[in-house]
Symmetry: C2
Subunit: 470 residues, 2 copies
């Protein structure tokens, strides 16, 4: 049962909606689309199905049009759901109350790049791959890599991270400033280009991770990082999960600089080996990467090899040529689709917990026992340097018992992580599917979040039904 | 003329104040102090004088007492100004409207340390030196170092940073979660212990840098970092400012890992040489530090030496023994007092701009020309790896013309930085003295800040008259 189906959502009243549809048609002409197919495509992201068809999908060209759309919706109390690449996983895109799906794909310009200051400004619809293609000549790159080719706007809105986070940080650490259109159609600029600032309330970080509930992010100023002189990727396999986690935790505690440290359990490895034709054993595995000078990256890799060996890890298999590294990381990025391919017809219920690194071994091992007890297939993949890991709980949506077991497993795993001082969501956001955990995790602070929501979106048009528990 | 003197501030009406004083005496006994000397001492931080005597200074013992004090003040509309070590520089501590100075010095416990997760939780009154003493045995340290022995609560409230920022980040990057008492006396917990989270609005970063205007920070969960195997400090002198800045900027752009990169101009060096009996020339100087493995730190220092040489830098003088490094950094930390000692009886008007690194050379050189044109002594010191630098504009508070020239210089330097994409405050906050710049820097976003302030502190008791322009 999906969280969204449990609530009866109101839709905008007909005269208000008609007024907005007329206004949008005037403003945008053919860029306001009411066709069924497009609306359906804009009613969900990836991840679990969610119900909520928008009444119209609009494709604004810039800040002024976004502002005009919001003023119109604000005046008539019609909901707005911002839409980037459609890759969100927690139901963030469902138009639960109907209204407008605001597709930002036409805001696809890299507005400025400063190689000297190692930053750039992009419109919200620029994808991370497009950005990295645009800055390739500068010797710099944008580090945040959630796997999917998400838009920068969507990544900011969900506080995304991914495989490079252990070295370079999440969106939280890499966004310097934003342009945001407020629900009543004001265009504001938060943050700036300075690397640090103590000038006033930190609105940038308030909008990052607000999942479209406070306004629409239309531009993002992000940090870029120098492409390291040397990039060394390595794969290390372990007899058991215990050893793989132990090595990862020991590496973090030693202060070793690792750029990526990804754990795949034996089930996820089986999926990836089959899907990406990899030549590895079906064993718990660390995918690693080291960035630095020629000497530095080699020194780090050696130090990690020594740590891994203490925990029973295999000799590293190295990938240093770009094509070999790309193949390796493509296989890692395809872990989601690889899991789906293991069980055709089944759905993937994703968990996204993140715990303090000291708790990771106990948390992962208890989770593995829970999976075994559930009788379900739920491959594990983790950004273990950050304490973050995902289950992909495969279940047949038509099988009520299997769905209930999947829900129970996800619930149990998530609540344990919270009890261990962790979070229900390391990088996917709350959306619909994690709302049930927010109050458990944040207690009375949730009321402060809701106070801010009411203050900044008094008519409640921005992505209603998401993030905040009732 | 001080900003604070320009406005006529209302004080609480007598019955309300009497009710609060009675309530505080009941609640705290001798820990509610109305003596003149203590109130005077709590009416200001360091930096420029500001007027605003609190009516009472209170010393709560923990969250519950802080909550009770705030409920009392909230009920009667009496202002509250949180007070840490008294080291803030922008007038944050002045009780402009009278009321209660909430001294957090008794909240001095390190509540928990996890060497395994490399984090700890402290009460707001713990100073950074006390924290580092408490974690010394773990092989970890708390990196944020603003020079002054500030409290963690004060550092969080002003979004402090300092010399290690270029490598380890500001308070923004090092705080994982907070306990905050809201103006109506609720105790909430923000963030958590996970290294990253996408679970709900980022209240942690909203309270960091809010300068006591949204609530009282009573506990802080912070990251710790491994003490590096090798720490190499070095000093490099340059014929001119141009060369020193050029070397610093080139180092940043090369991606070189430097842990500290501090610039002192020739005037600041003169002050420090006299004050700390240093054996250096009166020339623009970089104070540097490299952290890493034995090989890594040496490699980084060598790479930096090569860059510096290209810009006319001297051979490095190294300090690797702890006592030599400590002497060096003590001299750097005494730069503020060294400048004051240059001109006894004069006051130090501090600027705190931070610009994108590409703009730093032009910004610093234009600033140096402004100083020369002003006829004032204004030594420069900068965290140049971050693009942040300070003037200490020495002026005689009794000399109206000199004060006016100092104000004009500070204003001009700050506005130029904002025009270059920078900020009026890299690390000191807004307080009273930078309010005049906030709207220039943030435009309409200031109205969003004020909306949040009104929503979270509807009776306006929290540190009134600070941060937000009228």
């Amino acid at each position: 049962m999906d969280a969204a189906t449990a609530v009866a959502f109101e839709r905008p009243d007909a005269p208000a909606l008609q007024a907005v549809l007329r206004g949008l048609a005037e403003l945008l002409g053919p860029r306001a689309v009411t066709g069924q197919a497009l609306r359906e495509q804009h009613s969900h992201g990836e991840g679990l199905p969610a119900c909520g068809m928008p009444d119209v999908v609009v494709f604004p060209n810039g800040n002024d049009e976004v502002a005009a759309i919001l003023r119109l919706c604000h005046a008539h109390g019609v909901p707005v759901v911002p839409y980037g690449a459609g890759s969100s996983l927690e139901g963030q895109l469902a138009a639960l109350h109907g209204g407008v799906s605001l597709d930002l794909s036409r805001l696809d310009q890299v507005l400025s790049v400063s190689a000297e200051s190692m930053d750039c400004r992009v419109q919200a619809g620029v994808t991370r791959e497009a950005l990295n293609a645009a800055v390739r000549d500068t010797g710099l790159f944008f580090t945040v890599d959630p796997g999917a080719n998400a838009t920068l706007g969507g990544m900011a809105a969900t506080r995304a991270s991914g495989t490079n986070t252990v070295r370079y940080g999440t969106m939280r650490e890499n966004v310097l400033g934003l342009t945001v259109v407020t629900p009543d159609g004001q265009v504001i600029h938060t943050g700036g280009r300075a690397r640090k600032s103590s000038a006033g309330l930190d609105l940038t970080h308030l909008y990052i991770g607000s999942e479209g509930t406070l306004g629409v992010i239309t531009e993002i100023q992000v940090r870029l990082h120098p492409v390291p002189e040397s990039i060394v990727a390595a794969v290390c396999q372990f007899a058991d999960l215990d050893g793989a986690i132990g090595a990862a935790v020991a590496a973090m505690q030693s202060g070793l600089r690792v750029a990526r440290i990804e754990l795949l359990d034996e089930v996820r490895m089986r999926a990836c080996i089959a899907y990406s034709k990899l030549d590895y054993a079906e064993k718990p595995t660390l995918f690693l990467e080291f960035h630095g000078s020629l000497a530095g990256a080699a020194e780090d890799a050696e130090a990690m090899q020594a740590i891994a060996a203490e925990f029973g890890g295999s000799r590293f298999e190295f990938a240093t040529r770009p094509e070999d590294r790309n193949r390796l990381w493509k296989a890692r990025h395809n872990a989601y689709h690889a899991a789906m391919a293991m069980a055709p017809g089944k759905k993937n219920m994703a968990t996204d917990v993140c715990v303090p690194i000291s708790e990771l071994p106990a948390c992962l091992l208890a989770t593995q026992a829970d999976i075994a007890a559930s009788g379900l297939l739920a491959p594990i993949v983790g950004h273990v340097g950050d304490g973050n890991f995902h289950l992909g709980i495969l279940h047949d949506p038509a099988d009520a018992d299997e769905c209930a077991r999947a829900e129970a497993l996800a619930f149990r795993v998530t609540r344990r992580a919270i009890e261990m001082g962790g979070t229900c969501s390391g990088e996917h956001g709350i959306g619909l599917h994690k709302i049930v955990h927010l109050r458990t995790e944040h207690g009375a602070a949730v009321e402060v979040m809701k106070t801010i929501k009411r203050a900044l979106d008094p008519t409640g048009i921005m992505n209603p039904g998401k993030l905040y528990p009732a």
